[in-house]
Symmetry: C2
């Protein structure tokens, strides 16, 4: 059994930080700016507080080090960090791992589906309808992200393409699910409704 290479830092925000520092040293605020401006915040959960935490963790783990401080006008001093060699290899290994090895994850919708029986079928059908229109909105967002990027190489937008593909698949899945519920000849609706009212205690 291959012994899992335990990472010292697991927050994916750290991965993004490493990927910026591989190009040039920066201070946290600059990182913050870069992450927001390049739309990475759509792919990696970002928040101001976590960034400082993650930078601290990376430093403690020896993946980055202080490369001095800079001052700009009357602003407070800012610590500039740079990647260490360990950081460079960690970046590569981590990326390899993420790309090569899909993980079992726990999206919210999966959890809800696994408990779907607690709602009555007619309500579920209606809710699934709502979901599909919102999914369309999310698709529009992804497309907008792609459009608004302008001239950058499409390589840098694959994650949005991927999102689109998944949103699309989800939408089609829901369509099929609804069909199976409402099918007039052998739809699940009646059995489900019966089971639902029978089992509920109220």
């Amino acid at each position: 059994m291959a012994p899992k290479p335990k990472r010292k830092v697991t927050n994916l925000l750290a991965l993004a930080v490493l990927s910026y520092l591989v190009r040039e040293p920066m201070h946290p605020y600059e990182l913050s700016r870069a992450l927001r401006d390049n739309g990475d915040a759509r792919s990696v959960k970002f928040n101001h507080g976590s960034l400082y935490m993650v930078v601290g963790q990376l430093a403690k783990a020896g993946l980055i080090t202080e490369a001095g401080t800079s001052r700009d006008g009357g602003r407070p001093e800012r610590t500039v960090y740079e990647l260490t060699d360990a950081g460079r290899t960690e970046l590569r290994n981590w990326m390899r791992d993420l790309i090569g090895h899909p993980e079992h994850e726990y999206p919210h919708f999966v959890a809800a589906l696994s408990l779907i029986g607690v709602l009555p079928p007619d309500e579920v059908v209606e809710l699934l309808g709502q979901r599909r229109v919102r999914l369309d909105a999310l698709k529009a967002e992804a497309r907008a992200a792609i459009e608004s990027a302008g001239e950058v190489h499409p390589l840098f937008l694959v994650e949005e393409e991927y999102r689109l593909a998944l949103l699309d698949a989800e939408s089609r899945f829901i369509e099929g699910f609804v069909d199976r519920i409402v099918d007039p000849v052998d739809g699940w609706g009646p059995a489900w409704a019966a089971f639902h009212t029978e089992r509920r205690r109220t």
Copy 2:
């Protein structure tokens, strides 16, 4: 702007707990058992410690209450919990929300894709090949979960069907991605490789 109905408990494990308690009162260990045995652990991140935590939170939030204690042989006493009315409505509202409103989530693979440029294209192609193989394994797992369930109504396996649909979509997306990289006439490979070696500092 509709004021988000802030939940007191957000861990989805709590949702699963509510969904069991709606049927009958149980003590935590029983819940633990039920969650594992019914395969809910595949859909909701589960671990022993978190369960007790979540039960505590639910109790503090008034969504469940102690319904007494039970003793079985020489075993320690176990506190049995039951749903309150608040708990019942919370369960329904939460489910409605999850089904009706898709959330922007942050799967690991999306993060990796958004930073894919840090790896050279030939390596990425190979890794994507590996990933597809493992995706097939995950699909097999989902199918196995479906098969092994035997005679239960397919409604209770819909989350595995959903999983399958997404895994499939991901696999097809990767196929297309690889094609765009390696296409001999206008593939991204060469430009990517050039850009990659140019920009790296080593």
